[in-house]
Structures are given as C-alpha cells and as structure tokens.
C-alpha cells in the first residue's frame, strides 16, 4: 500500500475504536449505486525504481537540443544552491502560512521577496505572487478597473506587441467582466507601439493601458512617451516586463514623469526552470495608492506580543476566504515555492550579478544577430533596439526552417507566423547567458545548411 502506513493490527484497533467491523462500513452513508467499480485506465502500480526508469527514458526522448526559443520562457543558469534550499522539506511541504507563528520562515521569505521585487520594479509594493505572467496581466487589468474609479469606460488599451498568449489569456479571464480590451496597432517597421497609433484614443476615457518592455518581438518600446501619454488620458499604466531585463533597462516605476501604476510579468527568468511552461509565477507590484485593490496575498511586517518583529498575512479582508463573493479575486494561493527559489536566486545575484547576467543575454543576442545576418537573406525584421530576443526574417517559411533546424537538434526560435500572419517568414530568436560562441556557431552552420537545403 504505497505511502499508507497502516498495519493489519492498526486497522483492527482503529475499526474497534470506531465500532465498525470493516473499512467498507465507513462508507455506509453513500448510496450503494454510486460506488465506483474497478478503475480501467489506471494501470498497476510501479515501484519508484520502475517509475524512475520510465521517466528517465521519456525525459531522454526530449533532451539534448540547443534551445534558442524564448517567447515568454527563458533558459538561464540557476545556481545549484537555489533549488537545493528551496526543496528543503520545510519550504516544500509547508502550506499557506495560516499559523504565522509556525510559518515565520515562509513569511519572512515572502516579505523579502516583496521587497526585492518592489525595488527591482522601482515600485512601492509587491504582492506575494500570482499564478503566472499571463493570468497576472489579467489580474492587473481587473485591478486597474477597480483602482481607476474615475474612469467609467472600463476600456483597456493593449498593444499588438504584447505576447499573443498573454492577450488571449487576458481575454479569456476578463471575458465576463464587461471590460473592453482594445488592441493598439503596432508599427511594422520598428516592431513597436508608436504614439501615432494612439492618436485615435487621445482624449477618450481610457481606464488603463498595458506597456510591454521588452515587447513580444524583443524590441524596446518608448516606455517614457507611452506612459506619459496614458497618464495624460488619466489611464493607469500597467508595465508588463521581463524582470531579468529590469536589471539593466529602466524599471516601470521610473517610466515617464510619474512611473507606471502597476508592474506585472512572469518571474520565471529569476531562477525558475522552463519546465514545459510551469510552475512559474506572476509578479505584481503597484504604487502605495492602490495597494488595497491589489489581488493576491500580502505579507506584512508587524510585532508579536513581546514587541519582537514578525511577519504575517495581511489585508486578508480583500481575499476570497473572508470576502467570498466580494473578494478582489478568486485567487487563494500564491506560487510559494517558485517565489522561494526566486528570492534565493535574487539574493545570490545581487544587483551587479543580475545586471551582468542580463547584460550577457543582450551581448550574446547581438553576437548571434551578427552571425546569422551574415547569411544571405537573413535580416533583422525590425529597426530599433532589442534586449535578448530578436525577430529575424528568413528567405523561407519560418515553420519549414524551424522543422529542419530541429532535425539538427537546434530549436531555432518561435515561428512568428503562428501569431502574426504578416510574419510567416520571421522567427523570434532568444539568446541568454547560457549560450557560448560555439553554440552560436552551431546555430549559424545549421541555419546556412537548412536554407541551402530548402532554397536549393
């Protein structure tokens, strides 16, 4: 009986105490016709040894290629210490710190996380995290609608340069909330959102606007101008950012004259493995002015009966287990363990380490661009500046090129044609600090080879 400690004698003693003669008797309140028969799709148990062997074989199937895909999930070096400490039983197998006195470890850690994330975003406060970046964006939009009480339109501007999956998740999540999501057109030349495109909305009642930095194409938006424009419309600004990039790029709290009102994004780059898409976590920061509209958990510093500092869940009155149908969100957890890892990661990077890591991503990306654009017909798709992703136009369909590259064990990027019909010859390529010069050379040789094969 895997993981069940009961001996035959234990069971007998317990049944006697209860006063029944079999475990079956304990189910006597359940209508007999509801009782399940044998399971048909669950096979016989495997021992841990057999399970591990299966999993090793399956893992090996997917392993070994050089990965240049980004598009929302990023391969970074994670110090060995990070998950060694994060998977200590006391972190990994604890639950939500409802009993604060017996959860000071998790509580202080989250307080530190909130502090780190707030300074990284140059914002006043951070919550304890949300599910992921995409659902976090949806929560940020809902928050903006709650927080911008003067705006009646419930209209949110979302540039087309925002991650397509984030936009569709946003739609799915706020769908029933009577919120108007308006897509802002992007400039085909620069791959960014121009003030021109906002012209039609100037003077309108706009509740909020999302500004991505870098944007989905890896391009840098003119965040200062966009922020100031949005604030001029009395819209709240939601900065959607890659937190790793914020070590070198200006952070949302410092955008434009007044800074963004909310910063949100996916925390995955900060010490969380790609792991097929999750668990990651959504971070969310905001100004003090609107903290009471923030969804998700918050940890506050306070004192105990002896006046000694301690940490506790706070502002719980916003949450569903107290407010029920009037809660700010139905969310009732954070992504505690992922945040634990990120906090340790950030503490081991420090401001300089994080900047050096982010800088190496930038540098390596520029180096790959140089290499690849030396191939006939390969060009940067957009003018302007980018961080660690870049859209490259190829002399062939991106889908065909990527398939052929994969055969050569190079995962060459994301096919932008999947999300933008005008970009079917364009791949979005990501290079992080994990790639060496010889990796870049491997990519270049494979791409040249593939293009020769495809184009004769």
């Amino acid at each position: 009986m895997p993981f069940i400690p009961h001996t035959e004698q234990d069971v007998q003693e317990m049944l006697e105490t209860i006063g029944v003669s079999s475990i079956e008797d304990l189910f006597d309140e359940i209508p007999p016709q509801l009782r399940a028969g044998e399971l048909t799709q669950v096979p016989e148990a495997l021992s841990e040894m057999d399970m591990m062997r299966r999993m090793r074989e399956r893992a090996a199937q997917d392993d070994g290629a050089l990965c240049f895909i980004g598009a929302g999930a990023y391969e970074h070096h994670i110090p060995a210490a990070v998950w060694d400490v994060a998977t200590r039983g006391e972190f990994m197998t604890a639950y939500t710190p409802y009993q604060a006195e017996a959860s000071q470890g998790t509580l202080q850690l989250i307080y530190e996380y909130q502090s780190m994330m707030a300074t990284l975003m140059a914002m006043d406060v951070s919550n304890a995290s949300l599910y992921d970046g995409a659902s976090g964006l949806a929560e940020a939009v809902l928050m903006a609608v709650r927080a911008n009480r003067k705006s009646k339109s419930r209209k949110i501007l979302v540039p087309g340069t925002v991650h397509p999956s984030y936009r569709s998740a946003l739609e799915a999540i706020v769908e029933a909330q009577n919120i108007e999501i308006v897509e802002v057109e992007w400039d085909q030349q620069s791959g960014t959102t121009l003030l021109d495109a906002l012209g039609p909305f100037t003077g309108e009642d706009i509740t909020g606007m999302v500004i991505a930095q870098p944007n989905f194409f890896g391009q840098l938006e003119d965040v200062n101008a966009l922020t100031d424009w949005a604030h001029a419309q009395k819209a709240l600004v939601i900065g959607l950012v890659n937190p790793m990039a914020m070590a070198v790029l200006e952070a949302p709290g410092n955008w434009g004259e007044k800074g963004a009102d909310i910063a949100v994004g996916d925390g995955q780059p900060l010490g969380v493995p790609m792991a097929s898409g999750g668990p990651y976590y959504g971070f969310m920061c905001c100004t003090s002015a609107i903290v009471r509209q923030m969804p998700g958990r918050l940890i506050g510093r306070t004192v105990d009966l002896d006046g000694k500092p301690g940490y506790a869940l706070t502002l719980q009155a916003r949450e569903q287990h107290i407010r029920r149908s009037k809660a700010t969100s139905n969310i009732c957890t954070n992504q505690g363990l992922a945040v634990t890892a990120s906090t340790i990661y950030m503490s081991m990077q420090g401001p300089d380490g994080l900047a050096n890591t982010a800088g190496a991503c930038y540098q390596n990306t520029q180096a790959l661009v140089e290499k690849l654009t030396s191939i006939e017909g390969v060009e940067k798709a957009f003018s302007g500046h980018n961080f660690h992703e870049v859209a490259l136009t190829l002399p062939a369909k991106a889908s065909a090129v990527l398939e052929k590259l994969a055969e050569r064990e190079v995962l060459g990027g994301f096919d932008l044609g999947l999300s933008y019909s005008s970009l079917e010859n364009t791949v979005l390529v990501c290079v992080t600090e994990t790639k060496t010069d010889s990796d870049l050379e491997v990519y270049k040789l494979a791409l040249a080879d593939v293009l020769t094969e495809l184009n004769g």
Binding site: A36, E38, A59, N224, E250
Partner: protein, 485 residues
C-alpha cells in the same frame, strides 16, 4: 535578521553570474536603468545560511503532523521530485516542437486518461494552475454552454452556505450572481430550500461532496435531478476528492464539470502556498468548451504520437488561461504519484483517509470534545466545535490551535466552515500513522486539562515558536510590505 541587513555594497556570490559587466553602449541612454535596484549583496554562503535557517522556522509535512482540514496535507513522495527534476523534463521549453516533446506529452496524455477514469468524466484539461483557476474554468464553461444555446437568462449560480470562499468569488468572476443554499443541521443541503431557489435563472450549482462539513451529501442524486430538471449544470469542487478517490466518481453522482486539486489528492507539494494544479474534467455536454491546450494522441497504441490540441481543434474553447500549458512540473509530479499508486493504491486512498478521520473523531469525542456532526460518519475530515470550552474556560478554537503548536503539532483549520462556531476542521490524510494521530489526541486531551486549570496559559500560547502571537491589526493598519534601507 533580513537578508537586506546582511548586505554590504560590493559583496557578491561571484561564481553565479558573469564576472564582467556587459557592454550596453549599443543601447540609447533613455532605455538604461539609472539607479541600481536595492537587491541584497551577499555571499553564496550567507544566502544559503540565511534561507536554510529561515526554512527551519516553518512547520511542514516533512517535520510535523499537519492535519489542516480541507488541505490534504499528505506525504509528498520524493520520487516525484526526482522525476520532475530530470534534466530532459526540467529544461524542456514549453514551445519545444512536438518532435522534441513526445516523452513529456505521453505523460500528460496518460494523466488525462487516468483523471478521466477516477472522476468518471469524459474530458480533461490539465491547464488550470490552481484549484481556483480550475473553478474559474469550470464555471466559464457552464457560462459558455448556456451562451452557445442562447440561454441568456441563466444569471445565477447556487452555492451552499458551507462552501469554500473561492466558489462564490469564482462565480462572480464569471459574471454570475451568487445565491446561497442553506445547509441542514446534519450537514446536508436543505433540498426543500434548494427547490425554491432554482428556476430558469439557474446556471448551475457549485458543490463539494463530501462537503466542507466533513460529511457525504446523501441526497446528491436528488440535487442533481433538481438542477438538471431546470436546465442548470452541476459543478463539483474537487477540494475534498481525497475522501472518495477510488470509491465514488463525481461523474456518477451527476456532476457535469469539476476541478481537482492535484496538490491535495495527488500529493504534489504545497510549497508554502503553491504552486498547485487544478485540472478540470467535464462530462459530454461541456467537452467543446475545455480550456486549451490539451494533449491528443494519434497513431496506433504501438506507435502513438502525441500533439497539442488548440483552438484550431476545439473552436468553442473558453481559451487559454496561462501563457503555456499550466503548471507542467506539478502535473508531472501528479502523474508520477498516480503511476506509483496504481489502480490498487488509488482505491485505497479514500478508504484509509476515511479510516483515519473516523478514528480521530471517535477518540477526540472520547477525550471530551464535541463533534459538530456526531451522528454522521466522518469522511476524510471532521469537525469539532469548541463552543463549550470557549464558554466554560474562555479558551477558544484559536487558543487551542495555537497551543497545539507548542506540542509540535500543526493546528487544524480553524473557524471554517463558517457555519460551525469555534470549530476545528481536522484532516489527518491516509499517510499518517496511528501513532501520529494518537499523539495529537493525547495533546488535545492535555490541552483540555490545561484549559480547565490554567486558561490564561492556553490563551497566551504559543510559547515555543520563533515569535509569539502577532499583532495582525498593526500589520494591516501600519502596512509594512517592503523593506526600506
């Protein structure tokens, strides 16, 4: 001491990032950050020592009995961690081509199939990242179903008064009005009242069975009939699925849609409050609306190939709820757990969870505690009410909970469900031994004695933890959410 207080300008965990700053001169000044973030500057040893010591201030399943009701704090197999951290799994990019994903996809497909089987449902989407997001997906599908039929009048979701707070919050997020259904003194829903509440406005009902009262809703078939008769659908909150895993399938009870909390029933770690995973399962009627992506299988059983099903395959889907496929790493752990449990183990979960809860209930009753539903079978959890102790000694449910910490036992869930005063909701789970429970029972008996003889002492508890009781009012009034230099 905070990590920030150990920071010294210029200190660095040198081995962990490139030694040199990059040349950013290619970027215009306007984009560049002007002021460094005030992240801590510490050595690798300082970071490890700090966070290792912080971890030691936590209670956890690995260190204590943790019978937190409704949370299913069962053993989290270390084998699942080992499998989920195999390099080929941990480092797989979510957008890796299917040619480089067959290993992962095969696990996800098999998990879908197993979850369909244990729930008695027809389709599963693994994508919701938590129970509450599973609830959202489920109710959004109910909404989509009615919308597709142009059944626009269905604006209400019914929720029993004992329900988890997420249920009404979710219904509101999906644009519904919430109506509460009263619960009888035996813990079952008041079906007569229910009948008066239903009608053409009823989109559906959200229920947990066993309910948060720790009892099995015996009239579930009649309730299903009532709801279905008026055209509504039934949502099953899988929070308590551990009670009936292998014994009863929600699909057989008449539910149309449900979520599972894999971090409860499938033993994935709670991680200090997430991440979990909240897959949704649906019956026939809601299949077209499942959230994307889902894993599909093609080819023969001998040479299967797996691929992602997206909105191209499921055009009426409620859409995607995350950037990728949800909490894949948690799903892998749940898959591994299911594989190690197997058919036989799966049948035993509900049995032994129930055995443990009934044993504890009976022993605590003998020790002088009052069961909230003394005439009912406990399911996987049960409720005691400390109203008498509160009245007699001024020692309330919270005081007893705090005092348990001094006995090195985690407190149960307190003051939930809301309808039972001064309550403890206690869920031992099937992985705890009789001795662990006996220790808890003995501690409770001892605290009862303490309450009789030294109530002040109990009210001052805990005494053995890193801090004493915290000032929650100050925390909320004088908000301090981030360290400032």
């Amino acid at each position: 001491m905070l990590i920030f207080e150990q920071s010294r300008s210029g200190r660095k965990a040198t081995a962990q990032s490139p030694a040199a700053a990059a040349d950013l001169s290619g970027l215009p000044e306007a984009f560049i950050r002007k002021e460094k973030p005030a992240l801590p500057e510490v050595s690798e040893l300082q970071a490890i020592r700090h966070y290792t010591n912080l971890s030691r201030k936590n209670f956890s399943i690995d260190t204590q009995f943790y019978p937190l009701g409704s949370c299913t704090m069962k053993y989290n197999p270390r084998g699942a961690l080992a499998a989920a951290t195999l390099p080929g799994i941990l480092n797989r990019h979510p957008l890796a081509p299917e040619s480089h994903s067959q290993g992962f996809l095969s696990c996800m497909y098999e998990l879908q199939e197993m979850l369909k089987d244990v729930t008695g449902m027809k389709g599963v989407s693994l994508t919701p990242m938590a129970g509450a997001q599973g609830e959202f997906a489920g109710v959004a599908m109910i909404r989509a179903y009615h919308q597709a039929r142009n059944d626009d009048a269905r604006t209400e979701i019914l929720v029993p008064s004992a329900a988890h707070g997420t249920n009404p919050a979710t219904a509101v997020m999906c644009g519904f009005k919430v109506r509460e259904v009263p619960v009888n003194s035996d813990g079952d829903v008041d079906v007569d009242a229910l009948k008066t509440l239903v009608g053409p406005q009823t989109a559906g009902i959200m229920m947990t069975n066993p309910s948060t009262c720790g009892v099995f809703e015996r009239q579930i078939e009649e309730i299903a009939q009532v709801i279905h008769d008026v055209g509504g659908l039934l949502y099953y909150d899988g929070a308590n699925l551990n009670a009936i895993l292998g014994k009863v399938k929600p699909g057989d009870m008449g539910f149309d849609v449900m979520h599972m909390n894999l971090h409860k029933t499938f033993a994935t770690p709670h991680g200090g409050g997430g991440p979990g995973a909240g897959p949704v399962a649906v019956g026939e009627r809601l299949l077209p609306y499942l959230p994307t992506p889902i894993v599909g299988k093609e080819g023969s059983d001998d040479a299967p190939s797996y691929r992602w099903l997206t909105d191209k395959d499921i055009p009426e889907t409620i859409g995607n709820l995350s950037a990728f496929m949800g909490n894949a790493g948690i799903l892998i752990r749940a898959y591994v757990y299911a594989v190690m449990l197997g058919k036989g183990g799966m049948h035993r979960v509900g049995e032994y969870a129930t055995l443990n809860a009934n044993y504890m209930a009976k022993q605590l009753e003998k020790a002088g505690f009052q069961l909230a539903y003394p005439d009912r079978r406990a399911t996987h959890e049960f409720i005691i009410t400390l109203s008498k102790q509160t009245k007699d000694y001024g020692v309330n449910a919270m005081d007893v909970a705090k005092r348990l910490l001094d006995y090195n036992l985690h407190a149960p869930t307190t003051y939930f469900p809301l309808l039972v005063p001064e309550c403890h909701l206690i869920e031992p789970t099937e992985t705890e031994s009789k001795e662990a429970m006996d220790e808890y029972i003995a501690a409770m008996a001892s605290i009862l004695k303490e309450a009789e003889t030294d109530a002040d002492m109990v009210r001052g508890a805990p005494y053995t933890q890193p801090v004493k009781r915290l000032d929650d009012v100050k925390a909320a009034r004088e908000l301090d959410l981030a360290w400032k230099a």
